[in-house]
């Protein structure tokens, strides 16, 4: 695609104009600073910072927004890894090993590897999108509701068996997440489901409500009076020890590359791609690892793979948002809204009519990522040092940020109360030995799964055979069956010898 290359070069010439470069940097900086606050997810950060861009030139505004997006995303990762407060489903996966790493004083290493994984994943995702977009589009055309449905089923199954604990519990958590995503008005019939007569629930539950409740508040409840303060050891380490060493990079690199490839495959499903990608990448690393029992106790691969795959898959969201005008998720919808405020109509004609915007934005993805590294490499030590604040002072402040972050997502005080309830529920789940991360996977994928399931069966006039009649769909269904059989066999093998619990050795 030489035209793509020419366009990209043009994009760089736009994005590298000094004032655009400066706004991109400001965006990264502000996004990073706001995103790092506990409870401020990408969505809350962007919705709070959006008004800053209203008075600017459209191109600069968009570059700044891209900067904010990357900054907030990385800020969220910092807060997920250091405090176990994910606001973004892929970060819940990063937490699985990132937070244990922090607890053992390796939080700085996790942050460094996250950055490396993000830049490699994103760089690949961007290249792939520019050069392979036409081919991907032609594959995507072959995807009817049947294929999307069975692919999602595969993603859900693969993703739900990732954490510590039994596969049964993981699958139950995923299904629970799907159920939670159904709360609200059913788009097909207009019926209210699971709203219990509460008006605020008819719009459904907000993602941050679920994630900050299940992870954030549940974590506060768990550790409010726990003896061992988090990360105390990290503080006593020297500055150099906070950075990833060569051995860490060597251990993480294969995981980053595998995650990147998986992420770009998952970008086939716009909107939910990054979430599926992060869960599958983690599950794959665990399967491939020689020591799968170490996962969940702080291995670097468990941080590297999901981060790389998310960033590689997320490009698959940006492009349809710009070129088709169809946002994949709430964050993309906000960016789309920002474009429209500046009088730019996203859609197929955007590339031709506004090449500055389209290619400038794509180039700024790269530049934003590089800025992020420039900004954060010196700051890793500072972020980790935040943990030297005793937990008893940290959590009350974090609780306030969670409250205002949840509120800011859609200016609804009801959500703050709901977050508290989810916190209590999350605490109960932790005590019962559940790993709540797959709830977010189910929550994000649920609506599309139901929509496509209903559509597929409507098209086939109620015949379930439609899922195995079509070759691509049949392939995914077969993979699901294979996965289930493999799980069952593994579980059966584990049952035979006297039950020995590998987790205990690492606690």
């Amino acid at each position: 695609m030489p035209s793509g290359l020419v366009g990209l070069l043009h994009g760089f010439s736009v994005a590298l104009e000094w004032h655009n470069l400066m706004w991109c940097f400001v965006g990264v900086l502000v996004g990073n600073l706001v995103g790092v606050l506990p409870g401020m997810g990408v969505l809350s950060s962007i919705s709070i910072l959006l008004p800053l861009t209203f008075a600017m030139q459209p191109v600069s505004a968009l570059l700044m927004l891209a900067g904010i997006y990357y900054g907030a995303q990385y800020g969220g990762a910092i807060c997920s890894i250091l405090l176990n407060l994910p606001c973004h489903p892929p970060h819940a996966v990063t937490c699985l090993d990132g937070y244990p790493m922090t607890k053992s004083g390796r939080g700085g290493v996790a942050l460094g590897i996250t950055m490396l994984a993000a830049i490699i994943g994103a760089a690949f995702g961007i290249v792939q999108m520019i050069f392979l977009a036409p081919y991907i589009a032609s594959i995507a055309f072959k995807f009817g509701p049947q294929e999307i449905c069975s692919l999602m089923l595969l993603g859900l199954l693969a993703g739900s068996t990732l954490a510590k604990g039994s596969a049964l519990k993981g699958v139950a958590m995923t299904i629970l997440g799907i159920l939670l995503s159904l709360v609200g008005t059913d788009v097909n019939t207009g019926n209210d489901r699971f709203t219990f007569g509460i008006i605020e629930l008819s719009d459904g539950l907000e993602l941050v409500t679920v994630s900050l409740g299940l992870f954030g508040i549940a974590e506060f409840l768990k550790s409010v009076n726990a003896v061992a303060p988090t990360g105390k050891r990290a503080v006593r380490l020297g500055f150099r020890d906070l950075r990833p060493q060569r051995a860490d990079v060597r251990a993480a690199m294969p995981a980053i590359l595998r995650g990147t490839v998986l992420g770009s495959l998952c970008s086939l499903i716009p909107g939910t791609g990054p979430t599926i990608a992060s869960f599958i990448a983690y599950a794959t690393e665990k399967k491939l690892s020689k020591t799968p029992e170490r996962f969940g106790h702080g291995v670097i691969e468990g941080v590297a793979a999901p981060e790389a795959s998310t960033h590689s898959a997320v490009q698959g969201d940006f492009i349809p948002t710009m070129s088709l005008g169809i946002p994949g998720d709430a964050v993309m919808a906000l960016l789309l809204g920002a474009l429209m405020i500046h009088g730019i109509q996203p859609g197929p004609r955007l590339i031709i009519e506004q090449p500055d915007i389209f290619w400038g934005l794509i180039a700024s993805f790269w530049i934003g990522n590089i800025m992020l590294v420039v900004l954060n490499v010196p700051m890793i030590g500072l972020w980790v040092r935040l943990l030297s604040v005793p937990y008893r002072f940290l959590y009350p402040a974090a609780l306030f940020f969670v409250c205002i972050g949840v509120f800011a997502a859609r200016n609804e005080m009801f959500d703050v109360g709901a977050t508290l309830l989810f916190g209590g529920f999350g605490y109960l789940l932790l005590q019962l030995g559940f790993e709540p991360a797959p709830i977010l996977l189910g929550f994000v994928l649920g609506p599309r799964l139901e929509e496509n399931f209903r559509r597929a069966l409507l098209l086939s006039r109620g015949s379930l055979e439609t899922f195995i009649d079509r070759p691509i769909s049949a392939f995914f269904v077969a993979a699901c069956v294979l996965l289930l059989v493999a799980q069952a066999v593994a579980a059966w093998r584990r049952m035979k010898p006297p039950i020995r619990v590998p987790e205990a050795a690492f606690d």
């Binding site: 409010v224 009350p396 205002i404 109360g417 139901e450 209903r454």
Partner: protein, 152 residues
Amino acid sequence: MTGFARNRDVFAGLLIALIGAGAIAEGWQLGIGGLSNMGSGFFPVMLGAALVLLGGAMAVIHAPAPAGHHATSPDWRGAAAIALAVVLFVLLADNVGLLPAIFACVFVAALGTRVTTLKEALLLAAGVTIFGIGLFSYVLKVPFPILRGVLN
């Protein structure tokens, strides 16, 4: 090992099965329709049935909780402080303004530990309030009254 830790999976299974049963009940009321014309209840009933099966399997297979798992009894003081802090935030922010909401939230939450003294809690709450008001009201200009009727 306490009875809770030994029977943890039974409780877990029961909880999941109960949620599943609730979903089936709600879905049934909404109407499930048929495969070719699904009602709003079809998907919930399907998921609920899966949860009931999974919950049952969990309770039957139940393995004792791993030795490393600390089934701590909840820390009631901490939990009460956190719950009260959030409730106060919601009530005060809606009715009085952001300033008292932040202060009350942080102050009450800080008293959840047995170590933090009253003075420390007051100082922390004051500090976070100043930072929070400065950041959200003045820098980010979140449209929310600082003190309703006085400073909008």
